[in-house]
Each structure stands twice: as structure tokens, then as C-alpha cells.
């Protein structure tokens, strides 16, 4: 397969993997931990002394370890939320598209209605009414993103259903279940994979946004969005507290976007040629 032959996929995928790996192992290798404060070293700049690679924050906590922790949380939130949207969206869209007719019309009107809700306010409300916790963030973000996925999958299923190879399968006596799993689903994978890699950065953004507003993960836990929020307050004296987590957030977002683009090229090429 030409997945690794595509330079965009290779480079952006490599960077994401590398960041994820460092985020996973980094904290174990560092002598510092994310909790302990050191009032002798408030807002000290990055240095190799005492392995303070990213410096410390206003409470003297080690920013390297905290950033790695933030990346973990951000990636986990993004991936779990995308997975939630993937499962709901694909199942909903494929059913609507394959069954068609009135069922399809009714199901898609539900999606249209949900689209009309201002979701960010909705999510903020949820956060305020219920206690803040990580699970709620997963659910909230997933619930926003599955709508797009459902529409895309439904459209694709509708057009696949009319293709001649599906008619050929029907004539051969292939059961509807086998048609869905053997003939329609494999042809959906391309577009779904591409779309998931494009939802991940969206989920990351929503999570960062919520954390930036102070509605995301709770201290002393942290995420990239929360770190950026804290960094903004120290921007003038200690720019690294903003630039490092902000820069990493931008890098991760960019890599996922490029990864999506690259994957789309790879899958498109297979369909065109």
C-alpha cells in the first residue's frame, strides 16, 4: 500500500507519533513531577539545569512534565471524542443511507434540527450544570462532531447503494447484511478515515477552547488549552509559558490537518486510477 509512500502522510504522521511517544515516556524520564511546587524557582526560564527543559510556571511547577501531561490529555480527549463521533456517525449515516426512503428522511431531519442548536453554548451549559469532568468533555465534543460524520457517511452510502457492483451482489443473492459489510463498508473506510483525522484537530480545538475558558479539565490536571490559558497571564514576563504549549498545540493541529490531506490523496488516488 502506498500509505507510507506519501510524503505528507509519512512526515506528519511521524511527527504526531513522536510527540505522542515523548508525551507518554517523557514524564517518567524526568526527575520532576507535575504536582510539586518549588517556590525558589517561580517562572524560571527553560534550562538544562535540573532538567527544566520548558522552565517552570508561576507556582514553580515543572512545565516540561506538565506540558507532556497536557498533550496526553489533549490527545486522549481528541481521539476518544473522535471515536465517539465515528461510532455514532457511521452507524447513523449508514443506516439512513442504506434503508433510505422515509426512515432516511426522518433521521436526517433530526440531524438538521440538532445542527440548529448553538452547540458551544450547549456544551458550556452542560459544564456549568453538571460537575466538570473529563467524561463529560468526551461526550460533549463527540456529540458535536457526529453530525458531520453522519451526513458524510449517509451521502456516500446513498451513492454506493446505486452502484452497479451492489446491484450485481443483489442479483447474486448476497444477503443485505453481507452487502453492507462486504460491499458498502469497505468502500466507506477511505472517506471515514480521512474524516476522522480531520475531526481530531476540531476536537482538540474545542477542548482547548473549553479549557481556555476555564471549563475544561480541572487543576491540578491540565491540558494544552489550560496551559495556554495560564500562559496568557504570564505572557509579558515569562513568554515561554505561553509559547511552548501554544506552539506544540499548533504543531499537533497542523500535523493532523496535513495527515488528513495526505490520507485523502492516498485514498482518492486508489479510486480514480
Amino acid at each position: 500500500m502506498s500509505l507510507l509512500g506519501n510524503p505528507t502522510v509519512r512526515v506528519s504522521g511521524g511527527i504526531v507519533l513522536f510527540i505522542a511517544l515523548v508525551a507518554l515516556l517523557g514524564p517518567f524520564l524526568s526527575p520532576n513531577d507535575y504536582l510539586s511546587t518549588n517556590f525558589d524557582e517561580l517562572l524560571s526560564p527553560p534550562s538544562f539545569d535540573g532538567a527544566r527543559f520548558f522552565g517552570t510556571d508561576d507556582l514553580g511547577r515543572d512545565l516540561f512534565v506538565r506540558t507532556m501531561l497536557g498533550i496526553r490529555v489533549t490527545l486522549v480527549v481528541a481521539i476518544v471524542a473522535s471515536f465517539v463521533s465515528l461510532v455514532i456517525g457511521v452507524a447513523y449515516g449508514a443506516i439512513a443511507g442504506f434503508v433510505g426512503g422515509r426512515v432516511d428522511a426522518a433521521m436526517m431531519r433530526v440531524v438538521d434540527t440538532l445542527y440548529a442548536l448553538p452547540f458551544i453554548f450547549f456544551v458550556i451549559l452542560l459544564m456549568v450544570v453538571f460537575e466538570r469532568n473529563l467524561l463529560l468533555i468526551f461526550v460533549a465534543i463527540g456529540a458535536v462532531n457526529w453530525l458531520d460524520m453522519a451526513r458524510i457517511v449517509r451521502g456516500q452510502t446513498l451513492s454506493l447503494r446505486e452502484r452497479e457492483f451492489v446491484a450485481a451482489a443483489r442479483l447474486m443473492g448476497v444477503s443485505p447484511a453481507r452487502i453492507v459489510f462486504r460491499h458498502i463498508a469497505p468502500n466507506l473506510i477511505g472517506i471515514v478515515v480521512v474524516y476522522v483525522t480531520l475531526t481530531i484537530p476540531q476536537a482538540i480545538l474545542v477542548e482547548s477552547f473549553l479549557s481556555f475558558l476555564g471549563l475544561g479539565v480541572q487543576e491540578p490536571q491540565t491540558s494544552l488549552g489550560a496551559l495556554v490559558d495560564a500562559g496568557v497571564n504570564q505572557m509579558e514576563g515569562a513568554s515561554w509559558t505561553l509559547l511552548i504549549p501554544g506552539g506544540l498545540l499548533a504543531l499537533i493541529l497542523m500535523c493532523f490537518n496535513f495527515l488528513g490531506d495526505g490520507l485523502r490523496d492516498v485514498f482518492d488516488a486508489r479510486h480514480v486510477s
Binding site: F165, A167, A168, M172, G173, V174, P176, I189
Partner: protein, 578 residues
């Protein structure tokens, strides 16, 4: 001096050479046919002459037009030359015409931009041109958008735009390939009529068209010119093996080499089948109205008719892919009802279909081994995977593909190979009835011959009954035992092959046969037998639906729909048949 001169023209894309060292000339007023199979570089050559080669093409060699080397002209001079002295007509007018501009404005722009005429004068010239290409009601067509015209009318507009500047050379790239045969005949007539002194470079895969309309012909094979000369001479004694092969593969409607009649017992019967689709605005479109059909063991029944005649709808309904509004299908003594999913395993095993687009009928994500093996997975569950692989290999061998193809994906196959895979899949359960819906229409001549002889061989060995849908009457003549003719979803005529082609009783059948170009320069091309085009199925004419185009139409035809009658073994629906 020749008008157009090509010398050592080569076109490359990266390492692939699509046109190799090509040289030929077109004299003033001459008509030259450029023939070859798909991928032989015909269209690439045309685009290079026009300076329109796609990005990435490396073009070398000399192209001289009326003495000047095209490579030395500036972009402005080239534009002017293209507009005023070279006209071009493409295969698909619906893509070559701008959908957002009224027809009249598109033509007018050519005149105005290149300073040939302006103002009222330009309008007048456009009107005159539209009238010359045979558009009825020119005032209205002037204001029409391309989508409001039928395919034939659009191609007429295309020709009008190619010829309005009175060019010295017209390049026509497969100008009639997308059209029905009766309309094709009209366009070819028109081309002859309005060409005057314009030289013609006609690109086509159809040797019948070359034989009737070109003085000289050039034969391309994989980018190389293999044969060139006067059409009559080349047809009489082709110089190159490839030309011989092309000629041998061109089916002739006037052949006498047809299959012998067979006398099997009836296996499939259809009575008064009617199929209709709901259109927007709750109107119903009757694609098939009250058609009977019977098919015998070991027989090939061809269904012919122009597009919109309901051929495909009829077989889709027979197979249960679309619902039948009324009528019944009887297969081997039992009735088949409802959608295919409810018809049980028997139909799924014994009735098979082959589609026109071979690649589209194969799941792009499956390898050949699982594509061909799928019917076995569904119906012969007792087979071990090794036995299944054995059967698959056997089925592929039968269609002339070796085991090397097992692991390929559909996009790694050529059109001919993909169609063979589709045939292998259809035949692996040893069906009794095979429906071929334009199964060879997308294939090149030589590949088409191979697929047809494969079908014939399977039929001889197994007594397979075949329904063969085709718009190509020459192919039908060479393969079928009986022929059913349809028009606008109605039954027209059914007869034995020889009877139908020698003594067509319905005027529509006669017109269809006459409209087919014969690949023989000694047979003079006939005038288009039918004028006009197929009316909309949403508004069928009253009485006999064929009467507006029928040369024999009389009052009775306008008032009452003819029933089917038997005359000497031919069943025909016409008031005037005898």
C-alpha cells in the same frame, strides 16, 4: 501544398510515449479518417494540432498549418488561427458547450471576438448557420441554453460553432459516438452537406464511418502510424497486420455469417411487462409498456432500440432490480415475483447479468479471487477454501485469464480484462440464463470479438440462453438467433435474425438497419433514413408512438395504437406492415 503537415510528432507523458514519430498530411478540402483503438493516441494527436495538449505532455516535432510552423507562432496568432482557420467538434457536446451561455451568444462570440462580424450582422450570420445545421425554429434556439436541446441538437450546435468562422480544416473527434444510430446518420449527412471546401480530419473508432465519409485513412496503433492510404485501397488490401485485424474485427450488418437457428424449449417468458418510474411533479414515466418476450434454451435473443427504448428497464424488471408495475415473468415453469431479494436462491443461481461498465460492476475494494469466488461463498457453502480457489481458477481459465490475475484489484485491469472477470463471475455457478446489458459496448473491436466468441463458445457447450441488449445492430446481426425491437418502451417487432435483417416489416426496424454505417467503401453511404429524434417519454405521441417520424404514417397511425400481429413468423406492431 498540403494544408496540414505533421512531421515526427511525438507526445510523451513522463516515460510513457503516447504518440511516436507521427507524420501525415491533410490536403485542402480533403477528408481524412484517423482510426485506432482506445489508447492509440488519436485524440492526443488532435489536441497537439490545436496546441491544447494537457499539462505535463512533452510534445516534439513539427506541426505546420498552411505553411506556418505552429511552434513559431505567438499565443495571439495561434488563437486567431484556431478560431478562424481550424474548427473543432468534440465527442460530447454537453461538455464542450458552456452551460451558462445561450446557444446564440456562444456562436456570436466567435464572430465578434475575432472581428469576423459584429452587431446585427453577427446575429444574422449565427441565425443562418443554425438554419444550415438543421435546427428547427432558429429564433427560439438562438435563445436556448444547451441543456434545453437534445443530444443530436447539441451536436448540431457544436458543428455550427466549429464551422461558423468558415475554417479551412475541421477536426472532428468521435463526433457521433455518443449518439443513437439514427441521429448519427443525420449528423454524418449534415457533415457532408455543410463542409463545402473545409478539409476534414475525422477521428473515430468506427470503420463504417471512415468507409463512407473519408477519402484517405490513417491507422494508428499504440501511437504509431502503421498504415496510410486511400480508403478504398486500404480496405481492399490492408498493408499492415493491425489494419487487417481492425477490419476483421469490424462487424458488418450485411454479413451472412450468422448463427444457425436453434430449437430449444422455452425457459423464460415475460407477459405484458410494464415498468414506470415516478418523476418529479408526480408524473409517471412509462419506460416499458406492455411488452412480451420469450427465451429458449441455447438461444441468444437480442433486444435493440435507441436510447430510451426501455431495453434496460425491461431486463431490470425481469430480474427484479426494479419493480414491475404489471405483467408477469415465468422462469422454467414457476413465476418470479417481487424484488430480487425475495425470489429465493434459485434465481440467484440460474439467472445472471453482465453490465455495460465492467469496472463499475466490480467492487473496487475486492481482489479478483474474492470477486469471482463470491457466488460460491454465498451458494456453495460446503466448499473448502481450496476447492473454491480451484473453481475460481477454472472459471478464470475459461475466460482466458491465468492465475496471475487472482490478486489484482479492478482498477488494475483493462476494460476487456474486467469484463472477462465479470463474465467469469456470472458463469461460475453455471447459470441457465445470462443477460448482457450492452456488455461489449465499451470494448474495442478486437476485445469485443474475443468476448463475443467466448459467449458463443459457452453457449455451445452448456446451452446457455442469452438476452443480449445492444444498440449496435452489426454486433446483433453476428451473434443473435432472434431479435426483439423496441421503441419508446413499446414492442415493435420480433423475428428470426435473418428474417428481421433481410425483410424488416416495421418501418422503424428498417430505418435502424439502414442507419448503420457499413465498413466497406464500395457500399455507398445511405442518406439518414429517419429525421427528428425520439420524443420525450413523459409526453408520448398519441396513437402509434412512432408516427411523428414514420415515413408511412397515415390518419389511422395518429389515432390508434397498433396491436401486435403475426406475419410469416414475424410478430410486428404496425398498421402498415404486410
Amino acid at each position: 501544398m498540403s494544408l496540414l503537415e505533421l512531421e515526427k510528432l511525438s507526445i510523451r507523458y513522463g516515460n510513457t510515449t503516447v504518440v511516436d514519430n507521427l507524420g501525415f498530411t491533410v490536403g485542402e478540402g480533403e477528408s481524412v479518417g484517423l482510426v485506432g483503438e482506445s489508447g492509440s493516441g488519436k485524440s492526443q494527436t488532435a489536441l497537439a494540432i490545436l496546441g491544447l495538449s494537457p499539462r505535463g505532455a512533452q510534445v516534439s516535432g513539427n506541426i505546420r498549418f498552411a505553411g506556418s510552423d505552429l511552434a513559431e507562432l505567438s499565443q495571439r496568432e495561434l488563437d486567431k488561427l484556431r478560431a478562424r482557420r481550424i474548427g473543432i467538434a468534440f465527442q460530447d457536446p454537453s461538455q464542450a458547450l458552456n452551460p451558462y451561455l445561450r446557444v446564440g451568444r456562444q456562436l456570436r462570440e466567435i464572430l465578434v471576438r475575432h472581428g469576423i462580424a459584429k452587431g446585427k450582422d453577427a446575429d444574422r450570420q449565427v441565425m443562418a448557420m443554425l438554419e444550415r445545421v438543421g435546427l428547427p425554429d432558429t429564433e427560439r434556439q438562438f435563445m436556448a441554453y444547451p441543456h434545453q436541446l437534445s443530444g443530436g441538437m447539441r451536436q448540431r450546435v457544436m458543428l455550427a460553432s466549429a464551422l461558423i468562422a468558415q475554417p479551412d480544416l475541421l477536426i472532428a473527434d468521435e463526433p457521433t459516438t455518443a449518439l443513437d444510430v439514427t441521429v448519427q446518420a443525420q449528423i454524418l449527412d449534415l457533415l457532408e452537406e455543410i463542409r463545402d471546401n473545409t478539409a476534414l480530419l475525422l477521428i473515430t473508432h468506427d470503420l463504417g464511418i471512415v468507409a463512407g465519409h473519408c477519402e484517405r485513412m490513417l491507422v494508428l496503433e499504440r501511437g504509431r502510424l502503421v498504415d496510410a492510404g486511400a480508403t478504398t485501397a486500404l480496405f481492399a488490401s490492408p498493408g499492415h497486420a493491425h489494419t487487417r485485424a481492425l477490419l476483421a474485427a469490424a462487424p458488418r450488418i450485411d454479413t451472412s455469417d450468422i448463427p444457425d437457428a436453434v430449437h430449444g424449449k422455452s425457459i423464460l417468458g415475460v407477459e405484458s411487462a410494464t415498468v414506470s418510474y415516478e418523476e418529479r411533479g408526480s408524473r409517471r414515466l412509462h419506460a416499458v409498456s406492455d411488452v412480451d418476450l420469450s427465451l429458449h434454451v441455447g438461444e441468444t435473443l437480442a433486444i435493440v432500440g435507441e436510447s430510451g427504448s426501455g431495453k434496460s428497464s425491461l431486463v431490470s424488471a425481469i430480474l427484479g432490480l426494479v419493480p414491475m408495475e404489471s405483467g408477469c415473468v415465468v422462469y422454467a415453469g414457476s413465476e418470479l415475483n417481487g424484488p430480487v431479494e425475495r425470489r429465493g436462491k434459485r434465481q440467484a443461481r440460474e439467472l445472471q447479468l453482465i453490465f455495460q461498465d465492467p469496472i463499475g460492476a466490480l467492487n473496487p475494494q475486492m481482489r479478483v479471487r474474492s470477486l469471482v469466488g463470491e457466488p460460491l461463498v454465498v451458494h456453495e457453502t460446503q466448499l473448502s477454501s481450496r476447492q473454491r480457489l480451484g473453481r475460481v481458477t477454472e472459471a478464470l481459465e475459461q475466460v482466458g485469464l491465468d492465475a496471475g490475475y487472482l490478486e489484482r484489484f479492478p482498477h488494475e485491469l483493462s476494460g476487456g480484462q474486467a469484463q472477462r472477470v465479470a463474465i467469469a463471475r456470472a458463469l461460475i455457478l453455471r447459470p441457465n440464463v445470462l443477460v448482457c446489458d450492452e456488455a461489449v459496448a465499451a470494448l474495442d473491436g478486437s476485445v469485443r470479438q474475443q468476448v463475443l466468441s467466448l459467449l458463443r463458445q459457452v453457449q455451445d457447450e452448456t446451452g446457455l440462453a442469452i438476452i443480449f441488449i445492444s444498440h449496435d445492430l452489426a454486433v446483433v446481426r453476428s451473434i443473435s438467433h432472434r431479435v426483439l425491437v423496441m421503441y419508446m418502451g413499446r414492442f415493435v417487432e420480433v423475428a428470426e435474425n435473418d428474417a428481421l435483417f433481410r425483410h424488416p416489416r416495421h418501418p422503424y426496424t428498417r430505418a435502424l438497419i439502414e442507419a448503420v454505417p457499413v465498413p466497406d467503401p464500395l457500399v455507398p453511404p445511405r442518406k439518414a433514413p429517419l429525421q427528428g429524434e425520439v420524443p420525450s417519454l413523459l409526453k408520448p405521441p398519441p396513437g402509434c408512438v412512432f408516427h411523428p417520424r414514420c415515413p408511412l404514417a397515415s390518419d389511422v397511425c395518429r389515432q390508434s395504437c397498433p396491436g401486435a400481429r403475426d406475419i410469416d413468423g414475424t410478430r410486428v406492431a404496425c398498421h402498415h406492415a404486410d
